[in-house]
Symmetry: C2
DNA sequence: TGGTGAACATACCGATTCGTATGTACCATA
DNA sequence: TATGGTACATACGAATCGGTATGTTCACCA
């Protein structure tokens, strides 16, 4: 492997690359939050995980709260868009796509989904009653997520795949809630089988929407 | 109001009543956990809320963890039994009872259900990946809860109220998960309307089980 | 090429908070 | 009625952890 030109032009990347450093911290913070929650996340652990020091962290983020907000706005939002919104928008059979997602979460996310749960729901349950900044950010995320699913269902309805009398917004709300609930139950049971059992119920509901 | 004989015989109750003191602490701890989570609960706050001192708390509980466990085993379990299991067992129309619960959570629990969420699910999401003791205790609680709903559905099935081919255990799993999810979404949105929208979806699912 | 600011590193402070050590009042019992 | 144990109160220890103050290195540019 020879160095690409772009790498030569960004040779400083090796010693100094603030953008990379920032995303490194964000990623470590995301993982720590996913595992231990926001309150359980320790800045010292994040720093240690990156191999950096506290000086670097506080150079890029004014405090723990701002780091937490950035994780929501950048990392978690990116995951939602990449895993849910973009595939749904690109799909020609949106309902089938949703059903596939629900039925293959272990394949999509790995064992983490059972071990640590859904990052969005985790943070929402922990922080929304404690910190209004987290709540509004996560609420926006949920709205985008819900809107994406809603549009998918509307498209499925327009194509005749689902019954015409269903309320796409209500269904989207319920699907997200049920999904978060299933993952939560499976997380507490630490059981992938429990996840499948529960997801089967949701799939049954989704199938019942078909014409 | 004159003092009852029992009160005379337990006159020491006023100055010394360890059982009452213990449940006083448990109740204050439950409320603090419900509001701020287990990690967010401060023993000083619990002590202040009871009007007691730290000496009293550590006389009845060896440490914070034991207090948390006792809240699960005694307070939360009691609520589940009182609100869900007993009414379900006594009901002559279990499916209608479940639907009624889902549709009237605000009346049953007050605004707390939207403001602070479901105590069981809150604790499960926060603590199950961090503390095996919490996880197993909450898992047991979920199992009892699920079994209660399962039996209710089996009775409904036996009476011909729901379709004969449905899997009562799967349905019970999904109902609890969906319910927890709905409350969680509503909590994050801080919206009773969101709760009703979401609960409507669950009710629609439950109605679809009917013969 | 030297200086200026960004990008980090190092060392430390201070507040929060769980837990403990010790003291005291009350009550049952011998 | 003396006494020992239960049921608390009070004061303090100690560690964790977010945050800061200060030092140092690097890159860019006049």
């Amino acid at each position: 492997m020879t160095a690409k030109l772009s790498e030569i032009h960004t040779a400083r990347s090796v010693s100094r690359d603030p953008d990379k450093t920032r995303s490194l911290i964000l990623d470590a913070a995301f993982q720590a939050i996913h595992r231990q929650g926001y309150q359980g996340m320790r800045l010292d652990d994040v720093v240690a995980a990156t191999g950096l020091t506290k000086g670097a962290l506080y150079h890029h983020f004014p405090n723990k709260q701002a780091l937490g907000y950035a994780v929501v706005d950048e990392v978690i939002r990116g995951i939602i868009e990449q895993v849910w919104l973009q595939p749904l928008e690109a799909s020609t059979d949106p309902l089938a796509e949703i059903i596939y997602f629900v039925g293959h979460m272990d394949a999509l996310f790995g064992a983490r989904i059972v071990t640590f749960g859904c990052p969005v729901n985790n943070l929402a349950q922990e922080m929304s009653p404690l910190d209004e900044g987290f709540r509004t950010r996560l609420d926006k995320l949920y709205q985008e997520w819900r809107t994406g699913i809603q549009h998918a269902i509307e498209r499925a309805r327009a194509s005749g795949a689902v019954r015409s009398e269903i309320d796409a917004q209500k269904v989207a709300s319920f699907v997200i809630a049920a999904l978060a609930g299933c993952i939560g139950i499976a997380k507490n049971a630490q059981s992938l089988e429990q996840l499948k059992t529960c997801a089967d119920g949701l799939i049954g509901y989704l199938e019942s929407l078909r014409t």
